[in-house]
Amino acid sequence: MKRLFICILLLWCGVCSAQNTLLRGKASPQYPFLYNGTPYWSVPEFSRGEILFDGHIYRDVLMNIDACRQEVCVRKEEGGLPISPLADLVGYAIIDGQRFINLRYAGMPDAPEGFFIEMTDGRRTVYHQVRKSIYSEPGDHNGRGGIGYDDPAYRYDVPTYFFQTEQWFEYRDGQLLKLKKRKARRMDLVPVVSVPCLPDSYLAPKQTAPSASELRESATFREQPLSTSLPAGYFSDGSVSAERSALLDAIAQDNMIAMYRNKTYGIGSSNDGGTGPVTVSGTIRDVATGETLPGVSVCDANGTYALSDADGRYSIRLPRGENLLTFAEYSKEDMAVHIIVAGAGGLDIVMKEKVTMLNSAMISGESMAEHRRTAIGLEKINIKTIGRIPSAFGEGDVLKAVLTLPGVKTVGEASSGFNVRGGSSDQNLILFNEGTIFNPSHMFGIFSAFNPDVVEALDIYKSSIPVQYGGRISSVLDIRSKEGSSDRIRGSLGLGLLTSHGTIEGPIGDRTTFVLGGRTTYSNWMLGLLPADSGYAGGAADFNDVNLGVTHHMDEDNTLQAFFYWSRDKFSFSGDTTFRYSNLNAAMKWKHRFSKDRNLTVSAGYDRFGNTLTDSFLPVGSYELNTSVGQGFVRAGMTDVHGSHTLSYGASALLYSLNPGMMSPFGEESMITERALDRERALETAVYAGDLWEISEQFSLDGGVRLSGFSAFSPAKMYFGPEFRLSAKYSPERFLSFKAGFNSMTQYIHLISNSSSISPMDTWKICGEGIKPQRGWQAAAGAYLSIGGGKYDLSLEGYYKHVRDFLDYKSGAVLTMNDHLADDLVGTYNRAYGVEFMVKKPYGKLSGWLAYTYSRSLLREMEDRGVLTINGGDWYAAPHDKPHDVKLVANYEFTHRYSFSVNLDYSTGRPVTLPVGQYMYNGGWRLAFSERNAYRIPDYFRLDLALNIDPGHYLKAFTHMSATIGCYNVTGRKNVYSVFYSTNGGAGVKGYMISVFATQIPYLSLNLKF
């Protein structure tokens, strides 16, 4: 009875799938490296048999079952690579008398993917499946439980092997129930060896509508004769035949979810009558967590290319007909999807975490992306790479990872912020989700402000800044937190020497996910354990941060997200002076899809950064000094795809509110008068429009205009800033491209500082009377070449940047609580230029990059103030001017669990102002200084090493532990952060240097995921 039922189902499905001219098979993926065992069901040899494919029965075909991919592989008589007929269309295969059934094809949509052997003990029908996975781990795996074979030819020098698992199911009460392996083994099962149901049975009417194939027309099959050989052209390419239009229309659905490789998905309807290219779009997600995946390259067989956006959405123009769409992102396994495009449509994709690289000649998605995208100076790093880069104290550090990129520098190891292509640290727009981060560091630069467990990936735009971004001159660092897992509650916990961090994420109902992360340090109470004579017992340093992200998918076209971020730092060297600062960001984001080609994103929120200095050295003079910058924002942006044009347009508004300084008494004895500088308020607005025009596969243009306006309220002052963005790409070969770009920017907010790096008491100041906006432009050009079939990416970029009204301070300037701050500041020109060369190996056992940068960044005071003009009005080096810069980041994977990371950093020493003479004054020695930044500190060199131990591949384990053991500054070089001379209270002049990490710093970091 059961057999009959299965036969009926098979027949019905076969009816539905009848089309003998349907899809040609693609070459089966190969396993080119040495391995133990076989990917096939039992033996690697191919045997003759019979296959029901797409309603046709083919006999005397050489076949085998690939148990890894759960596909049938067929081979031509004359040899050659095996072909994998699309598994969806394979009903069964009989090989060596053993029948392998596709239960889904047979009408069991909930059945596991793949093929099963039908067995019976005379009473019950049982389905048995062998599945295999590829693993790489040294050791003896031969004959051990689960391996599934005991091979006398087992090669112990080869770590890669195929791991076998078995599944048993019983068909009972109309359901497929899982059966324990032990129980199944006890049953007296024998394979059902029989001729499949006759064609007449196949023609039985459809009973239910459980599968996707229900939309296919049964009549089609009736007209088809049985075949005894593969159809003509089966092994060759072909085009879509007109006769299939109706079928294609029928199977077209709105955004099907493609989960399986090498299967065919029909897209769109041919009813539009068109013949030209159409747009296919969708969302790409992680199969395990449901998170959207940005930065995935989407490429068709002809090289047409697209990239998924920050929300994981992609849109690509494809010709009608058959195509192979490849999705690549180098932390995920590549996904190849056969599609038949009848018209515009949607196709959502799920990708899974990369376990192993199956094909060493595979082109990385990032390589392709570099050649395909028009933007110049765009770098992307995912969290996996960040975690591999050794950092002080072992915690994966987002900003330290950014600093390994060419063109990104910092003035010193304990420096907040970074410098991009000669720009100052306040010229970087740091976005965390939608919020602006004004101070991206904890402990003044030792740790970054971003919890590595929460961050998904980051993009840094060094040159071509998209038109939707504005407000900063030099760069945009766009950091995105991940979406919460949609399948189950997951979490992670990281323990380091000084910090701990953790996250928890998961679904709330069917449509909502959340991710909550937190981080803290225990250095504060640990410092308290130090003996009193250590010199640090009176100090305190601690920080915390909290992230929360909630994503609610209202429906197919609407997504609502909420983000919250808060951080707090407290630091004191002694008991009487305390620094505190905090970041706060809260934002809502609504994403709406009008159609597959048109998306709207609206966000609104509030950002705040505040710092407080408490000085209680003198009871009567004790005070608390507060400064803050806050901004409320609204942004709306549309993306509109029209053929080869991708239009971006929108508007934004920022409402600033700054407290430039408020001093208040601290303690009962304080005689300090409360005093506050006037609060500054202003509105910054912008409208923009841009177009990415993909003129051809080789040539594309990306241009846009951004019109920004700034209005300070009191005193009233207005500024306007038209900004232009233009970049072009020419790619004469698949692996060779040339790019050039120009962009102009305007910045209406300045960080007022007279220290080398961002200090706690630096204050933000918006434009107003006497403070003009910074305006700048950058021109850049680059060449990009991938060699070794995409194994190595080479890039060479050059740039020239010019900025005016960058603020520097006058000698002797007073920057805090200054009513007339503008009088102590001077506008300067900043010119920067450089060349960046990078060799990158994006994947493989050895991966990483080597970068060299030559760059200069120079300043010159704009106004001639006679003898007071800085350096006499000549160009002088900016504090972050470090001409030579070499960076090496490498990771070598011994196995899938063990890898070794190296980080090397060399740069020219930064400029400093040193004393050139001394003189006696007021009874003590004083110092006379050189021209500003006339000298340099010694060159910087640092080597870090780390051993990473990843969790084993026990996929069913509840927790996965990973560990990193490393050493920061392996050579123990005393890198100079700062050089200074002191008169020691007037007694005599001595030179000193500060080295922040003056010795090796070994560390151990543990991470637990569940």
Partner: protein, 390 residues
């Protein structure tokens, strides 16, 4: 566990270090004139004229008188100065009044260049400067209070003098006479006062002005401004301590100038220190206004206040005397000679000899412990000192 955590914390704290550094700076510097001092209303004005020197110089080059210095008042007229040795020039401004405006003029003999400050407003001295001290667990804090006269910016300098004594009053001395060569340690004869080098006096003048402002306060009145903080174990306060503080008002520009000098000279180098910068004073070369001249001159009146701290009365000293005593048990060589001279050569002096049960013990102490002059003290007792020590 605690040890592990302590190690981790130490690791974090100890990684940041300060080391000596030699930046290979130029050995020659540009010729830059330094004019140091203020025009003191109602007292003698002392102006120092010198030149910038290379880093590492340990003394001000003095080639005798190199300039003529004068103070010009819009009421008093020109008051010529005189060379007072070293690099100092004195101008008698005792008859000047604060209602006048003044300017300093300097003319170099070498090239005839003239330098001037321009007319300076005279600043009135603050009223009622007073000192007090407070004692906490570890330190004695000398605090200054004053009533301003609307000037808001003030500087103070101090001179301190203290009496201290040596650790021991010796009973024996080293006798170098040949007849005592075999046993040179002799009892101090009656004609030598063993207390002669017991009490000493020492002094110190501040090398950097203290700067204080009342701009952030409710009124132009300062209270509890710390002038000095002295450890309670410091011998400065072991007997009698005296501090004399000179307070003067100044301009905002002068205040900023000195503040920048202070920051540049002492506070540079921390992670968030301002980048050092050169600042310009208020002295100009008449012939070349672009010439850089170091110095900021004020015309101001000085107010003074002083205070004694007598440990015998208030018992603030917690330090120890006599801790460095060395005991030797003489062992004669084959000739029966005891080599005491080696102790002398190592800087030790005999304190006393004690014989108990035929065993002789000689106590030695470093020279500074039995002779206060060897500890840097002076036997010159300041006038008006409030005890009869000698």
């Amino acid at each position: 566990m605690r040890r592990i955590l302590s190690f981790a914390a130490l690791l974090a704290a100890a990684v940041s270090c300060i080391y000596p550094f030699d930046a290979q700076l130029p050995s020659e510097v540009a010729e830059r004139l330094v004019i140091d001092g203020d025009i003191i209303i109602g007292d003698m004005t002392r102006i120092k004229v010198s030149y910038l020197q290379p880093i590492g110089s340990d003394r001000v080059a003095s080639g005798g008188s190199i300039a003529s210095v004068s103070v010009e008042g819009d009421i008093n007229g020109v008051m010529e100065g005189r060379y007072a040795g070293g690099s100092t020039y004195e101008v008698d401004t005792r008859n000047a009044g604060v209602s006048s405006r003044f300017r300093l003029n300097v003319r170099l003999f070498e090239n005839g260049k003239e330098y001037t400050t321009g007319w300076l407003k005279a600043h009135e001295a603050p009223s009622n400067p007073t000192l007090k001290y407070v004692v906490d667990e570890d330190d004695v804090h000398v605090l200054l209070s004053l009533d301003g006269n609307g000037e808001e910016y003030y500087r103070f300098d101090y001179d301190e003098t203290w009496e201290f004594h040596s650790d021991f009053i010796p009973t024996h001395m080293y006798d170098f006479s040949p007849e005592k060569a075999k046993y040179p340690l002799v009892e101090i004869p009656d004609d030598i006062d063993p207390m002669a080098n017991y009490y000493c006096w020492s002094s110190f003048s501040s090398r950097e002005p203290g700067l204080v402002s009342s701009t952030a306060l409710d009124e132009d009145r300062l209270s509890g401004v710390e002038v000095r903080s002295i450890s309670r174990e410091d011998r400065k306060i072991s007997v009698v301590y005296y501090v004399d503080v000179a307070v003067r008002a100044m301009s905002r520009d002068g205040y900023d100038y000195l503040h920048t000098l202070e920051v540049n000279s002492n506070n540079a180098g921390s992670l968030f220190s301002p980048v050092p910068s050169d600042v310009r004073g208020n002295i100009r070369c008449v012939a070349d206004t672009n010439e850089v001249v170091i110095g900021f001159i004020e015309a101001t009146k000085v107010a003074r206040c002083h205070m004694y701290i007598e440990n015998g009365r208030v018992n603030v000293f917690r330090g120890e005397y006599g801790s460095q005593l060395l005991l030797s048990k003489p062992e004669p060589d084959e000739d029966g000679v005891i080599d005491y001279y080696q102790y002398y050569l190592y800087g030790y002096r005999p304190v006393g000899i004690y014989k108990i049960n035929d065993v002789t013990d000689v106590f030695w102490a470093p020279a500074r412990c039995v002779d206060c002059t060897a500890a840097g003290g002076s036997k010159t007792k300041p006038a008006g000192w409030p005890n009869d020590h000698y």
